[in-house]
């Protein structure tokens, strides 16, 4: 049997969850024995090159590109995991939910206390730039998500235990300390 294939991505996240994946330390050598990585910032493969078994999503959806990437993950992965608070509930980016997008952009590019260089008062409007969504959406409000691993970031032990249980088919036993929301 060939190794299960894993893909990961960071949407509206801070890459903290990916850092937490690396926090499994030397177990990463065991992980490489167990799985093969496909599209992921870990190996810098940019597009899916084969069907993937487990897709790991960090971050919620704050713009059109996030939605597109998330949908391509759903299409190419058998199992999707929401990793971390941002993927699960929008996280800190979702603190803008409730504030109109216009107000957010004006604060960021025109009125914010640290905005000084934008003398011509230009708002980003290039066609190449993804459109901001009206609010930040948790991943499971856009596509079906199979498993959720909370934390900010999720503890490395939680990621490790969950992945190993999923790959080996063994029941998941989590100590109290590894499931945290912060």
């Amino acid at each position: 049997m060939s190794k299960p294939v894993i893909a990961t991505t960071s949407l509206a996240g801070c890459f903290g969850c990916h850092m937490s994946i690396l926090d499994i330390d030397e177990r990463i050598l065991q992980l490489i024995e167990l799985v093969e990585f496909n599209k992921s910032p870990v190996d810098d493969i940019k597009t899916f090159t084969k069907p993937v078994d487990i897709g790991i999503i960090e971050g919620g959806c704050c713009n059109s590109e996030n939605v597109e990437v998330l949908r391509s993950f759903r299409k190419n992965c058998k199992i999707l995991i929401s990793l971390g608070e941002c993927a699960i509930m929008g996280g800190l980016p979702a603190m803008r939910n409730g504030i109109p997008v216009e107000e957010c952009i004006e604060e960021a590019y025109l009125n914010g206390p640290t905005v000084q260089l934008n003398k011509e008062r230009i708002l980003p409007n290039d066609d190449e730039l993804p459109m901001l969504l009206d609010r930040v959406y948790p991943c499971h409000e856009i596509v079906k998500i199979d498993y959720f691993l909370p934390g900010c970031p999720p503890r490395a032990d939680l990621i490790w235990e969950a992945l190993v249980a999923l790959i080996t088919g063994n029941p998941l036993k989590l100590p109290y300390e590894v499931v945290k929301f912060d």
């Binding site: 929401s82 699960i88 800190l92 499971h140 959720f148 989590l174 912060d182």
Partner: protein, 231 residues
């Protein structure tokens, strides 16, 4: 009044003084029933329903129901735990509970109940309500995004004449707990501290005191809520 009576919780024989509320009676017998709005020393009101148990086939709040002789109480059953978990989930989605950015994280009873029931994600859609933060008091911040309307601050924090410093404002969907405009002026650093401790979530915070305890030393970092009770 002080007559000892026998009753059963999930089939376990228990004893307590008659008239004791079930939550307290269970605690005396080493059985944890989760609570949120209930607080020792304050008259119970059964607002949050997290302490719901089944007695004679009926669901009742155990913080407001006294034990009686021979009472048979179901508490730790699959159905009741599922009900309690869904209350926790509803509380999470009906406010803006951004745990990673909350000063109360690690000491928050709502969060601790999320851990207790292994809530990985609420099954309900997030409401993301628009709520305000009142930082006008010199001592406290009242963040409505996190308030769960448990009334603990209203009941527990009073001036020397027994008048509550916190009060309800508006009705229905607009209901919120606020620091009373007039009586709130009597807020002292000591009362502010007590108010923060009375709040089960991070809705009342003492100013300039965020993140005092490092991660790993907070109340619910290593032991689940209720582990001081369970034998």
């Amino acid at each position: 009044m002080s007559e000892l009576i026998k009753f059963k919780i999930d089939g376990t024989e228990c004893m307590a003084e008659s008239g004791t509320y079930i939550v307290e009676a269970a605690r005396q017998n080493g059985i944890y029933i989760p609570t949120l709005c209930n607080m020792p020393g304050v008259k119970p009101k059964g607002a949050c329903r997290i302490c719901t148990v089944r007695i004679n086939g009926r669901l009742m709040t155990s913080c407001t129901t006294p034990v009686t002789m021979g009472m048979e109480i179901e508490s730790n059953t699959e159905q009741i735990n599922e009900l309690r978990k869904s209350i926790v989930e509803l509380l999470f989605v009906s406010g803006n509970h951004f745990c990673p950015a909350c000063e109360k994280s690690g000491n928050c009873e709502l969060q601790a109940l999320g851990y207790y029931y292994q809530m990985m994600v609420p099954r309900f859609p997030y409401d993301f309500p628009q709520k305000g933060v009142d930082a006008s008091s010199p001592y406290i911040i009242k963040d409505q995004n996190r308030c769960i309307m448990c009334k603990r601050c209203i009941k527990a924090i009073r001036d020397d004449q027994g008048r509550p410093l916190f009060a309800f404002r508006n009705r229905g969907n607009h209901l919120e707990v606020v620091l009373d405009e007039d009586l709130g002026k009597q807020m002292t650093p000591e009362l502010a501290e007590a108010a923060m401790n009375a709040c089960p979530v991070g809705s009342i915070l003492v100013k300039e005191k965020g993140f005092v305890q490092p991660i790993g030393q907070r109340k619910f970092d290593h032991k689940p809520i209720g582990s001081d009770v369970a034998v």
